[in-house]
């Protein structure tokens, strides 16, 4: 069966012509594409164009799971996994231009779908029923936001470096379903994590400076009488705890 059933009503649940999987050159990428689209021998009814993202769009719209009769299910974890697998496919050696193009196009659709509003609330309720569903879904989105090659999809900005992997500089805040998950799980946006790490590093530097000042001010670091040369450092002094710092070993 390859034709839509009935006239479209404008609902995401309308059965449209099935989407055809794009040709790709990389064998591993081909498996991800195959999992994204309706299978060649799948018959009966489907939602939208038959892709996983179309199923999730319908679920977000009306709150009902999708699938063959008796096998209906919600698709956010499925969609999140596909998104993560497209990101991993970027690591495959010798991707052709059309492989990269397919990765970007499919990732964009999956990413946009996960950022849609859960109008009916059914998907959110299902995700919240098991925190591991929500965590896994959010992990996939965060990995994609931190992937420099998917910046055209996510809008993330990166600081480029000649020698190191580009560092995440800023992200576009999540919307819809993912923003809701982020609030529920109390997980900050990745750029806030980066800022937090920078703060911790700065605090660490502050403690180190404080320790140095403490050590400089101690008797033990003053030149000992009868010696020319550098300061004598006693074990007692160097084991002295700074105001906020750790105990220092000689």
């Amino acid at each position: 069966m390859s034709q839509p059933q009935g006239p479209p009503t404008g609902s995401p649940r309308d059965q449209l012509a099935r989407a055809t999987p794009p040709e790709v050159d990389n064998a591993n990428l081909r498996t991800v594409v195959a999992d994204t689209y309706l299978k060649p021998n799948e018959t009966g009814t489907w939602v939208g164009n038959g892709k996983s993202a179309a199923a999730l769009r319908a679920e977000l719209h009306d709150g009902r799971p999708t699938g063959p009769p008796g096998r209906e299910k919600f698709h956010p974890v499925d969609v999140a996994d596909l998104l993560g697998r497209y990101r991993k496919a970027l690591r495959e050696p010798q991707l052709s231009d059309r492989d990269k193009s397919v990765i970007l196009a499919e990732s964009a659709e999956l990413y946009r779908t996960l950022q849609m509003r859960d109008t009916a609330g059914g998907v959110t309720a299902w995700l919240n029923a098991n925190p591991e569903r929500a965590n896994t879904t959010l992990n996939a989105v965060e990995s994609v936001k931190a992937e420099p090659e998917l910046a055209p999809v996510t809008g993330s900005r990166f600081l480029t470096s000649t020698f190191k992997r580009p560092a995440l500089e800023a992200v576009v805040p999540d919307a819809g379903l993912i923003a809701h998950l982020r609030r529920t799980l109390a997980r900050p946006e990745p750029q806030n994590l980066a800022a937090g790490a920078a703060r911790i590093a700065a605090q660490g530097m502050g403690r180190a400076a404080s320790l140095i000042e403490t050590a400089r001010g101690s008797e033990a670091l003053r030149p000992s009488p009868g010696r020319s040369g550098g300061p004598t450092v006693s074990n007692d002094a160097t084991r002295k705890r700074g105001r906020n710092g750790p105990e220092v070993d000689p």
Binding site: T31, D35, K39, E42, G67, V77, A80, T136, E142, L193
Partner: protein, 142 residues
């Protein structure tokens, strides 16, 4: 009755469960684990405990460590022993008490198995009752 030490067939336990049951999946599971841990470190996410299952999506485990790298080659090479063992794995997945495992098995194993005629024409000979019950009548074994 001795206490069972078998890993639980749950969202978090799937990795260990499959590792125990199917040696052919282990290199693929190890690769998934290494990738997930690298991602977590690069992105500053904590690994909360020793269970790598937290980091891995069961859908990805079933696609990238079972269906594509183990079941499909078993079908293509008509490896009867491996086909029988993977059929038993599929039955156990479909019988899992955990809804997430059943959902993942349906979408990532059952659907591509019965959705590709070239795979189903071989695998249906070893398929267990739960898998066969999910097959549309038009795809029933002749």
């Amino acid at each position: 009755m001795p206490e069972s030490r078998e890993p639980a067939l749950t969202f978090r336990g799937l990795f260990d469960w499959l590792w125990e049951r199917l040696p052919e999946a282990r290199p693929h599971l190890a690769e998934l684990k290494a990738d997930a841990e690298l991602d977590a470190v690069q992105e500053g996410r904590a690994i909360p405990d020793a269970s790598v299952g937290y980091l891995l999506n069961p859908y990805g485990i079933l696609s990238d460590a079972l269906f594509w790298p183990v079941i499909v080659p078993a079908v293509e090479t008509r490896n009867d022993d491996l086909l029988a063992r993977t059929a038993a794995i599929v039955e156990a997945l479909l019988a899992a008490a955990d809804e997430d495992i059943r959902d993942a098995a349906d979408l990532r194993v059952v659907s591509p198995l019965i959705g590709h005629a070239e795979y189903w024409s071989i695998f249906r000979h070893v398929a267990g009752p739960r898998l066969l019950s999910m097959t549309p009548r038009s795809q029933d074994p002749l």
